[in-house]
Amino acid sequence: MAGQAYMDSHFKPFHEMQAEDYAEIGLRCGLEIHQQLLTEKKLFCRCPAGRYTKDYDAEILRHMRPTLSELGEYDGTALMEKKTKKNIHYRIHHETVCTYEFDDTPPFLINESALDIAIEIALLLRLNMVSELHIARKQYLDGSIPTGFQRTTILGVDGWIPYKDRKIRIRQLGLEEDACREVSDEGHDRVYRTDRLGMALVEPVTYPDMRTPEEAADVAQILRKLCRSTGKVRTGAGAAREDVNVSVAGGTRVEIKGVSKILQIPHLIYNEASRQCALLRIRDILKSRGITPDTIECQSHDVTRVLSKAQYEPIRAAVSEGATVRCVVIKGFAGILDEPTQEATVFASEFSDRVRVIACLTRLPNIIHSDSASESLSARDWKALRKRTGTGDGDTMILVWGSEMDTRTACDEIRIRATEAATGVPSDTRQAHQDGTNGFERVLPGADRMYPDTDLPPIVIDPTRVRRVKSQLPEYVWDREERCRQAGLPEAFVHQLSLSRRGELFLRIVNELQINPTFAAIVLCQRFKAFCREGLQPDRLTDDIIFDVFKAHADGQVAREGVVKVLRHCLADCAQKSPTIDVSESLSELNLEPIHEQEIAQRIVDCLQLSETASFGTLRQKHRYLMGQLMAHCRGRIDGAKVAELLGASLGTEWSLQEA
């Protein structure tokens, strides 16, 4: 069904939204980037980092209980997870985890190289650096970390990055351990893989300074690039993940978690903005009906017997297996559950999500309600329910089914969510969906979930250490990009090359040798990628060797085509001999010394004579044949385009190499 059909008339479709529309609703977005660091080992133990496997040798079972914060409070998220009563299963593989990750050994001292990288990124973000790190435990009771908390620490606060004509403020930079990956979550059992657990990552957090979804995506891109410009962070699937914080005027900060593609960000923000506006509208409707958090009335009833003969399949099947069916009646809520919130999503999904996540009724559909136009119970069943529960025309009924305990939890959650509806936008952590909408994940945790880690002492950040890192900071990626552009680098390569460790080399080659920037970029990006695919290790070539090869080209010792040949030869040399190799040796071994045009012209004459007797269908075929003959002799020693041009001229045509 088309989403637009459900959308409130005030809220335009995604592609029609303009900056002014977002300004009108008071959109504010912030970002948290989770960027894995390129360290050999994990952050608090000596397990290898970045080794992933789906295999496992054993499973461990744990449960989580909430604990008090340092200031003596229970965290809301913690209490929510407690209600879910999940069995958490961890799959462990002997190569990727030790007893630390599954919480049977205290932490080892922090990984110093991870700390150096984090200091580097903190300096790039212009943060006010702390002088002493305090490791905190950030509670995660969903089980994604076996300890029940993430070890995390803050390196600095209140920095900024430039964006357009203003500054985007950076709230803080954290250094922390990565969590498990969820394998499945059904009913009361959640399964995790532990290979990624404990890997070092940094988390830059911005203030909510972005005003449109596109700005948020731009800034995410900038932050990701900034991290990558160090050359010391991981890349590839899952190596960087974004959380997006969204609020509209009158709404609440809601965190959308685990966005792996920056391209998804604008659509996700749009939907959340739409949802918050819808929730505010629903609150106002309720208010106009006299429903406030204090006056809301919810009652739940066991209606298993009323529905013992119901034909609606999910309920029929559940009842036949001995399940309980409960009905929550919310007074004055008629029609509310069908209010649109996000694209193709109505308010009822807020209830369904909570019931799924907290009451563990994971098989969908897990609720039906009397506002729904879709087919479920028969009119007779609804009527019987109304009678049994005393539901009036202005009220809404929500049905849940499952075990006695789970349906009780579900009714409690429905009551809680209905009460929140009268308040407005609850503080949630929400999950990003592929279609750009989002669903409930957990209650947004607050500062109360932080607790000092008593297993590790504070770590002093020596000012000399900061100075050392500062002296080796990479150039700001946007500055380097600008220099690359000014050097004539085509836009298609700007992103890749300015993040690459060969970005500086590119600038040297172009500026000092006056090499064609496109040619240099193609060699340094595409050809080097091809070397990798061939199993060669181009990283073995030092910048100086590569520079010398280009210099030989600039000096006329190697033709354009020969450059890649020489590089490959040098690479083979590197593999066999010492890394210090002489480019001129390669040149003489390969015999790539350029052929002069006169020599080629003579060869063309010779070839034409030899092929005089042969017959060709078309002139094009003849050209192609002769090019093959000629290039066999001089490939790499002269530009192919030049040969084609000369040959074309001799054949009386104007073909260029491309056309041939």
Partner: protein, 461 residues
């Protein structure tokens, strides 16, 4: 008062706070050479250096700022933290058994100590009910904090007081006793209580945790629930240790107090029964008894408390090249008993013989145990063993070294007569010496062996 205002701060850290008229719990704005900061000043751990102040940011994170970078601090508010487990009155139900929880310390229930930055124990029935409400389904709980010490600080004084208190509680009608204890020396206390408290009509269950209860993944709650259930409902009227069986949250094991030992510095499943099988498993479904011979619960109150103890006892852990002067030093310092943890079947080197002879002459009681932990002394097998016995060294069969140590202290508290002491030592009270070692009393699986890997893969560990 000013002491409290600068809690944990000394030297430059304290000076900078004092200079700017701020203190612990001040909400401050700080200007420093590293930029501006805002947060709540927290107490500082006394073991941390004196050059930093600790700030709690709004985000909940703590950071440290070097005092010599701070140029200005302005108090903009105050917010004092009161760390408190929500206390609720423990419900009483006359139909439920009465269990007494005696606290000695350890991390079974704990809270953060700002001064040391470490966790310190804290409990009351109300606090326990607030954090482990399941307990109220099992029993009526009364608690008493006897000491608040880490288990390495437990010793004869505490053992004696604890044994006496247990006797009183039993006489007062308790249906079971639970003892909260740090795990490091839990097996020493379990052993001595097995000797000092005999013929108990009710279970005496020791419990602790390997992960403190301020962690969401703590084993404390499950250990506590299972130990309280054992005390309330169990049939084994002995001193036991109730701790995690596997590292997974599945069941606890009940270990006999004289055969149990902490075997890993940090695993949850650290406690193992050595040279025998555990008494029972316990989980939410109930108790599964693994041994048929144990002392059953009774209705009477006829417990025998014998807290005699002589502290001049030591353990010598033999190592190759041990010099006899170690033994001489012990004798000279007036020690009355020595337990040797010998190699193999119970051996020490020849150079120690003269010193052992001098011990014999000084009427010092010398007993032999094995540092292999599993297995019996076998001092007839080799010449060395026979020579040692001629020097008055008495083999303790398969008594664990720590158990022999506390038992010798207890025996010497009752007599100094070699024959009587030997009679006490070698007469088992509760399986500290067993006649037989079952074939499955020594199981140490080794990883990577195919059948072991298969087994591990298919069970929760």
């Amino acid at each position: 008062m000013s002491e409290d205002k600068f809690r944990g701060y000394r030297g430059p850290g304290k000076n900078i706070l004092s200079e700017h008229g701020v203190g612990v719990w001040s909400d401050v704005e700080i200007e420093s050479t590293n930029g501006d900061f805002r947060g709540l000043i927290l107490p500082r751990s006394e073991t941390a250096d004196d050059r930093h102040i600790v700030l709690k940011l709004d985000s909940g994170y703590n950071i440290g700022l070097a005092s010599d970078t701070i140029t200005k601090m302005t108090e903009v508010g105050r917010c004092e933290a009161h760390y408190k487990i929500p206390e609720k009155e423990f419900p009483r139900d006359p139909a439920k058994p009465n269990v007494t929880l005696l606290g000695t310390g350890g991390t079974i229930a704990s809270r953060l100590d700002y001064r040391t930055g470490a966790v310190i124990p804290a409990f009351s029935p109300g606090e326990l009910y607030g954090s482990v409400p399941e307990l109220a389904d099992i029993c009526n709980l009364s608690t008493e904090k006897l000491f608040g010490v880490f288990s390495e600080n437990m010793g004869p004084v505490q053992w004696t007081a604890l044994a006496k208190r247990i006797g009183e509680e039993i006489e007062n009608g308790a249906d079971g006793i639970v003892i909260g204890h740090g795990t490091d020396t839990m097996h020493h206390t379990a052993a001595i209580l097995s000797f000092m408290v005999q013929d108990s009509p009710v279970p005496i269950v020791m419990v602790g945790s390997q992960r403190s209860s301020d962690r969401p993944s703590s084993d404390a709650a499950i250990n506590l629930i299972n130990s309280v259930r054992t005390a309330a409902e169990g049939d084994i009227a002995e001193v036991m240790v109730c701790m995690f069986g596997p590292t997974s949250d599945q069941y606890c094991l009940l270990h006999r107090g004289t055969r149990v030992r902490k075997m890993h510095s940090s695993y949850r499943s650290t406690f193992r029964t050595i040279g025998d099988v555990p008494l029972a498993m316990i989980d939410q479904e109930g108790i599964t008894y693994l041994k048929s011979e144990y002392k059953h619960r009774r209705e009477d109150r006829n417990v025998k408390i014998n807290t005699a103890y002589n502290e001049k006892v030591t353990v010598l852990y033999y190592y190759p090249g041990m010099q006899p002067d170690v033994i001489d030093a012990v004798i000279e310092k007036g020690y009355r008993g020595i337990v040797i943890a010998g190699t193999g079947l119970g051996h020490v080197n020849k150079p120690c013989y003269p010193a052992l002879g001098r011990a014999q002459n000084a009427k010092v009681h010398v007993y032999m145990t094995v540092q292999t932990l599993w297995g019996y002394c076998g001092m007839y097998v080799y010449e060395t063993g026979r020579e040692l016995m001629d020097l008055g060294v008495v083999p303790c069969a398969n008594m664990l070294p720590e158990v022999a140590f506390v038992k010798l202290g207890w025996a010497l508290g009752q007599s100094d007569d070699p024959e009587e002491v030997k009679r006490i030592m070698l007469t088992p009270v509760v399986d500290e010496i067993t006649e037989r070692e079952p074939y499955n009393g020594y199981l140490l699986y080794q990883g990577e062996i195919p059948e072991v890997q298969e087994f591990i893969r298919t069970i929760k560990r």
